[in-house]
Amino acid sequence: MAKPKKAKEVRAMKGRSAGAARKKNKPQPIVKQSPEATLAEREKSYRSLFNTIVEAIYILNPDGTFVEVNKGACKMYGYPRKYFIGKTSEFLSPRGKNNYQLMLSKLKLAFAGSPQVIEFWGLKKNGLEFLKEIRLKKGSYFGRNIIIATARDITTQRKIELELKESEQRYRTLQQASFGGIGMHDKGVIIDCNQGLCDITGYTRKELIGFNGLNLIAPEWRKYVMEKILSGTESPYDVDGLQKDGLKYALEVQAKNIPYKGKIVRVTEFRNITDRKVAEGKIREQNARLTTVSDDLRRKNEQLEEFTQIVSHNLRSPVGNILTLIGFLESSSSEQDRVELLTMLKESSTTAQETLLELHEVLKIKQDKQIPRQQLRFADVFRHVESMLSAKIAEVSATIETDFDSIPSILYPNIYLESIFLNLLSNSLKYLRKGVRPVIKFKTYRQDRCIILEASDNGSGINMERYAHQIFKLHKTFHKHPESRGIGLFMIKNQIETLGGDISMKSKENKGTTVSINFNKRDIDEPEVADNRSGR
């Protein structure tokens, strides 16, 4: 149904146009020369072409009145063709939206031979407003000089453009507002950046665009950064940045791969973290100092507890005994009894005095942090101690092996090292395993940055599960041995610890004992802090 009707319409229009054209074109010589049939054929094909074009086409007189419009134009506005002819575009313009004077001047220019483009707000028959782009060009229409106007609805396009512009504006605002430096680069070459990046690096934006971003990194870090770029990592990392003036600064870099104009580029943020680094350094330094102080306090506290323990047990005991014995003595009548009591009194007094001396000795050690140290050869000191114990060594026919090759010497107080060797060796010679020939080994070695002295034997050993808590306490012995007094390990532990070392023991009953001395366990932690302090 629709098709034939349409065809009829076309024919009708054709008829009218042809008629009009014929009338108008009559004076033209070309028309006269052409046969009527050819002309009609040409006009027909022209019309069909004119109307096939979807875009709106208007034929205008230089004064702006419509000569002809195509179907596209009618469709664009919703008016029939007849409605246009002879009128200017004023009726197609919403009130006040277009500058009609500008339109006229553009028409004039176009007519003079220079093609023009103008934006024009259109008003459809149904009241809808829309924006179109009109191209004006001089042309001829059946022999007449006219202006051909083509129009394109650009409302959507304009809207998109506007949105794009706004979004770009937003993006730029955001980028400029960022306190960090943001740059976008393609394989290192900077495509765009914000003011922040200029501020951080000291370059202008103009200088930065097209610049190789790796130049913003200190040379020694470039390889590292290149690896980060190539691996596409998105987590932040710290490097040294290089400013235009050659200054280096602590820099945190974080980048993300994003698609941009059909390829993947990297958006990189630079953060100058110098302040943070300085603050971190200070915190670390303070932390280290606090740790040292707290360690020191803890050790002091432990020592105080140890002292309380010693005073409580080792000193109060003999004093208590003395008091009791005196009580007995006062009420004693037998001479023989008094002699016995006096002997015990003497014994208790001696014990009290010995404990006092030991306490004093320990206190002396604690206060003697600055005791002079000498460069000592382990072998020399050991040989001396060995000779002191030679009788005992011969008696138990012990084999003694030493290996001080890897660390032959140490800076340490001679009397302390002597006391360490003496205690360890005499303990090993004392606590033997029945039927086993004693083999005692001493060796030194380096562990991390520490000097270790290790003494091991194949003696009776100690049940560590039971006695570990008592080993380094005063007057603790773990063997029913006549020579046990339980002073040695307690004393050398104090000596070693006072000089920043550490002593530990491993042992198994009926297997043997190994004592390890780490001479500078705490020395190692402290110099760093000391350095910082001197640097301030």
């Binding site: 409580s312 080792n314 005994n321 009791t324 039971r466 007057h475 603790k476 012995t477 773990f478």
Partner: protein, 134 residues
């Protein structure tokens, strides 16, 4: 016949304390059977060996803290495990020269310790303690 006197064990490495305690006990006739051990291990060994011999087991133990080998604390640990196998109810006093509050509270919080006595121990205190429990 007068009632049987309790058996008292003194576990202490201090020979002088052993001597003075024995003498005090004998002076006030608190016991006519005092067992003496120089360390916790010897005392435990004795308890284990005589777990079924009520006649030989002590009624009271005076236990020192600070001793070589098995000290007072370790004795208490082992005793806790041993207790069920022993036929006699034994009353343990911790006797130490320590006035360290940590030692005192640790001793008093042990269910097997009847009381904590600081050295030197006066005779009157001994009598009072044993009479209270008698």
């Amino acid at each position: 016949m007068s009632p049987r006197l309790p058996i008292i064990a003194v576990v202490d490495d201090d020979k002088v304390f052993q001597f003075t305690t024995l003498r005090s006990i004998q002076a006030v006739k608190l016991s006519d059977n005092v067992l003496q051990f120089g360390n916790g291990e010897d005392a435990l060994k004795y308890l284990r060996q005589n777990a079924n011999e009520s006649e030989l087991l002590p009624d009271f133990i005076f236990l020192d803290i600070n001793m070589p080998l098995v000290d007072g604390w370790m004795f208490l640990e082992d005793y806790a495990a041993l207790k069920a196998t022993i036929v006699k109810e034994i009353c343990i006093f911790m006797v130490s020269s320590s006035i360290d509050p940590r030692d005192i509270s640790r001793a008093k919080s042990n269910p097997n310790v009847a009381d904590y006595i600081t050295k030197p121990v006066r005779i009157e205190r001994l009598v009072e303690l044993l009479q209270k429990l008698a």
